[in-house]
Symmetry: C2
Subunit: 284 residues, 2 copies
Amino acid sequence: MAVRQTPVRVQPDGAAGKSVTAKALALLAAFTPDAPELTLSELSRRAHVSLPTAHRRAAELLEWGALERTPAGHYHIGLRLWEVASLAPRGLGLREASLPFLEDLYEITRENIQLAVREDGELVFVERIAGRNAVRVRTRVGGRFALHATGVGLVLLAHAPADVQERVLGWRLDRYTSKTMTDPATIREVLANVRARGYAVSDGQVTLDALSVAAPITGRTGAVVAAVSLVVHADSADPTALAPVVRAAARGISRALSGNRPRDSAGIGAPVPASGTAAGEGLR
Amino acid sequence: MAVRQTPVRVQPDGAAGKSVTAKALALLAAFTPDAPELTLSELSRRAHVSLPTAHRRAAELLEWGALERTPAGHYHIGLRLWEVASLAPRGLGLREASLPFLEDLYEITRENIQLAVREDGELVFVERIAGRNAVRVRTRVGGRFALHATGVGLVLLAHAPADVQERVLGWRLDRYTSKTMTDPATIREVLANVRARGYAVSDGQVTLDALSVAAPITGRTGAVVAAVSLVVHADSADPTALAPVVRAAARGISRALSGNRPRDSAGIGAPVPASGTAAGEGLR
DNA sequence: TCCGGTCTTTCACTGGGTGAAAACCGAGCT
DNA sequence: AGCTCGGTTTTCACCCAGTGAAAGACCGGA
C-alpha cells in the first residue's frame, strides 16, 4: 500500500482560502469598465479561482441571470443583476429622486451635470448628464474617482467623517494637472472653505479646460449623502455666479429625499461602517 | 449508548437543496421594488434559507459591499453591487448609448420617454424620462412589465423568437383596462402589423389616458435588442404623426450601438438561451 | 419584571465544493 | 490532412466549508 501523500494545500495564490460566496463575488468583481466582457479563463485568472471552479460558479451565476454569455461564449454582467442592483438606495434610488432637478439644471445651463456619492475613500458617479457641446469630461456612471480633485469630490470629502478625511489625506494623492492640489494642508484649508461657503469649486484640477462647481445633498438625517456639480469650460466661467443655481438644485434634491419615506426610518444614508473607526473599515 | 437518530433531512421547504451560491443569490433576489429594505429574518424567510445561514451569507455579502445595513440594522442592496451591475451591456451600456437620443426626443416632445429590453417573457425598463406635466405613467427603471400591453412590449414581442411569442401568447394575459388586448389571435395580427409598419401603438391598454408609440432598436447583428417609446395623453395624440420621430430616434440609437465596438464581436445582444427551445429556458 | 421577537453564537455532522488531470473542441498554421 | 495551441468541459477521489438545531444574548414593549 502506497502511503497517500497528504496534499500540502499551499495557498494556491496570494489571496485564497476564500469561501464559496467570496469566490462567486470575486467572479463578479472581475468585470471592470475596461473589461466588461471576459472569457472563462480570464474570469478564472482575474478572480484568482481555479478554472473548474470558475466554470462551476459561472454556470450558477449564468443560470440565475447574474451573468450572460455572448454568442461568442464570452461572459458579461446580466440584466437580472442590474435589475436587483437598481434597488440600491444610493444608486438608482438617489438618481430617481434627483433626476428632475438635474434636468432643470441642464435645461438652464446646457452644461455637464454630475451626481456622485462617497464610497469609502473614493467617489462613485451615480448620474451624469452630458451636454452635447459642453466640455468633454471622461466620467462614467458607475465609475470611481479620487475625492481630492473634482468639485463633487471636495464636497463629499469636506463632509466626510474625520477619520475618512485623515485617511484620504494621508494617501499619496494623484496629480492630474498642474493645478491639482496634492498637499494635505492646502486641501484641509479648502475643505474648511467648502463647509463655510456651502459649495466647492474645482478649477482645472482634473483637466485644465474644465471647472466644476458642486454642492452638498443632505439625506433624511441631515447628513451629507451625495453631491451635485456643474462642469463648465474653465474660461467663460464665473463660479460665484454658478454657485446659487447648483446649491438650489442640491437643496431641492435634499428636500425630495427627506420627503417621501420609502419604508424605514433610515432610507438613503451612509452605511454603518463595518467596525468602529479607523482600524477595520472593511476591505477594499 | 443511545443510537444516534439519523436526521431525516426533509427538504426544509418547497424548494431547497440549493447550492451555496444559489443561497447567496436567493438573498439578493429577496429584495424587490416593494421591499427594498429587509430585516435578517425577512431575508431568511423570503430566500427560504435558515436563519443562521442567512446571517452568515448576508455577512459575507455585507463585507463585499453587495449589501449594506441601515443604522436601524435593516439590509438593503449596496452601492458596490450597483457599481458592478452598471457594467451590464443591456443595462447601463444600452442606456448610455441611447441617452442623447432620448433627450432629443424629450426636448422635442416634452412627453414621457421609455427604453426597454425583453428579458424572458417580460420587459424590463432600462430608462425613463418623465416629463413634469406629461401623463403619469407608473413605471420604474429596473422594473418589469408584461409584453402584451405597452408599446415597447408589443415591439419587443413582435420581434421575439417564435417560441417566446408562442409561450407568452399561451399565458393568461392580464387585462389592465377595457382596451387591453388579451386574445392571442388579435395580438398575433397586431404583431404582424408592428413588423410591417416598423412601429407599435398601444392606445389606452395600460391606462386609459395614455397612448404610446414605440419603435425597435437593432443591435450589431441586426436583431432587435430594445425598444423606445413615447407616451402621451390618449386624446390630443396622433400616432401616425409621432411615429416618424420615434423611429428616427430608434434608428439613431441602433446606429450608435453598431458603431463603437467596445471589445468583442458580440456587444449588446440577446443572451444565448440556456437550453434550446421551449422546454428548459432556465428558472424564473 | 416578564414576555415575544429578533439577532448572534456554538456545536458536531456531512455533502457540496475542491483542484489535478485528462478529455474535448475548434481555429489557425504548415 | 495533420499538428498545435488556447480555451472549455468533464471526471474523480478527497475533505473542509457550510449546515441546522438549539441555546444564548439582546432589545423594546407591556
